[in-house]
Symmetry: C2
Subunit: 267 residues, 2 copies
Amino acid sequence: VKVYLNGDMAAADGALVRADDRGLTLGDGLFETLRVRGGDVLRRDAHLARLRAGMGVLSLDGAPGDADLARALDETAAANEIQDGVLRLTLTRGPGRRGVLPPDDPRPTVLITAAALPGADPAPQRAVIARVTRRNEHSPLSQCKCLNYLDNILARQEAETGGADEALLLNTAGRLAEASAANLFLVLDGALVTPPLADGALPGVMRADVIAQAGGRERSLAPDDLGRASEAFLTNSLGIRPLVSVDGAPIGAGEPGPVWERLKKIP
Amino acid sequence: VKVYLNGDMAAADGALVRADDRGLTLGDGLFETLRVRGGDVLRRDAHLARLRAGMGVLSLDGAPGDADLARALDETAAANEIQDGVLRLTLTRGPGRRGVLPPDDPRPTVLITAAALPGADPAPQRAVIARVTRRNEHSPLSQCKCLNYLDNILARQEAETGGADEALLLNTAGRLAEASAANLFLVLDGALVTPPLADGALPGVMRADVIAQAGGRERSLAPDDLGRASEAFLTNSLGIRPLVSVDGAPIGAGEPGPVWERLKKIP
């Protein structure tokens, strides 16, 4: 396994980052998870556009340009001979001295890792609604895929403790925002709907594709809407998964339905 | 400069962390900042108790015990010959594979860095109220000193852009919670008051000392209370600083006052 780190390709166990990297000390950075299929990096430009938007929110300057990042992604997939798999690009603000403020002359860290993935159909998912925490729709970080992932980790741990696969996060107003590592879609009254970004949903790259290709619409959703849904889905860059139960109650018939048969054709 | 890393003392530029450390990839960890004075680590046990509480919230298992961590702190201060300065202890969940869930057999990373600090009286501080983001009092992370520091970074960047020293963070209900790297105290109607933990204030170690030694009391505070305060303070492990203006408006007489003369004697 080879890892891309600041322009070099290293063996995975030789990929080391400075202990004063602000990604490590303060979670000061962003990441993207990208699907590779048939050796191609899917939706690469959309991922890089979201990463660039996150750099704007964080005022994270000094990172390589999109063309360099795209080349690094391709090289990492090729070096690992990944046909079907996943890349993760991590961008941090790089080393910094003590304190909250970034250095005047930041030298961001770029790290890309690769892993193979099975290409099989995803298993139907069971979720809980996380009680341990809420997603903060008042923070612009809800719109960035940033390295501050602890709320998501806490929610997923709660799901695991409850024997579930995923956790749905409510925002501070009690609306459905997303899952710990995926966006949420429901089929309500025959319409495919998903929480709006203003409710704290991450602007998922696959979410945007589902909206564009399957006619999804943004709509604020309450937990009660889960009981009225005929189907539900979890979407992220790795794929679209049917969500068949929440807190033990089935969604619709409790099994993948007709809209799923349509959505699963989205690459 | 020497750095403690997982039991070894290394030169600072040789302190390297694995690129798959969850502290780096997901902000999955905690930290403590400790004041050293006269070679002694101040409030060491209180810091370790808060760290231990944070491990409970994160279900972060496998870390060294308090006695080992205390010894490592003392050794790092001694190795750097720090008389007056600061230590930072970072504890991450250690290396992990792809994905949100922690590994079954976590091997946490312990990192301790040291720096000298000037012992002079702190300069009076000017703050802004952050508009860019809000503190999430609905998350248990508001009670942990965790590696997810991006909201605080955004707030502090806003302060710097506005020519201020610090940023006060409102919680999602619009109440004052704390500053980007300090707790907030006001003198209101002659009483020393500070936002309650339930409003999203971090349980600061110095905050607890000010409450115990100077008779501070918890009280929910609104931005309007700043205009009624006769004095204000920012407290953290490095000390207590007078806060003399917010958004350009003076607090009280706009200079350190009589309560400050009393508080500054707290070590």
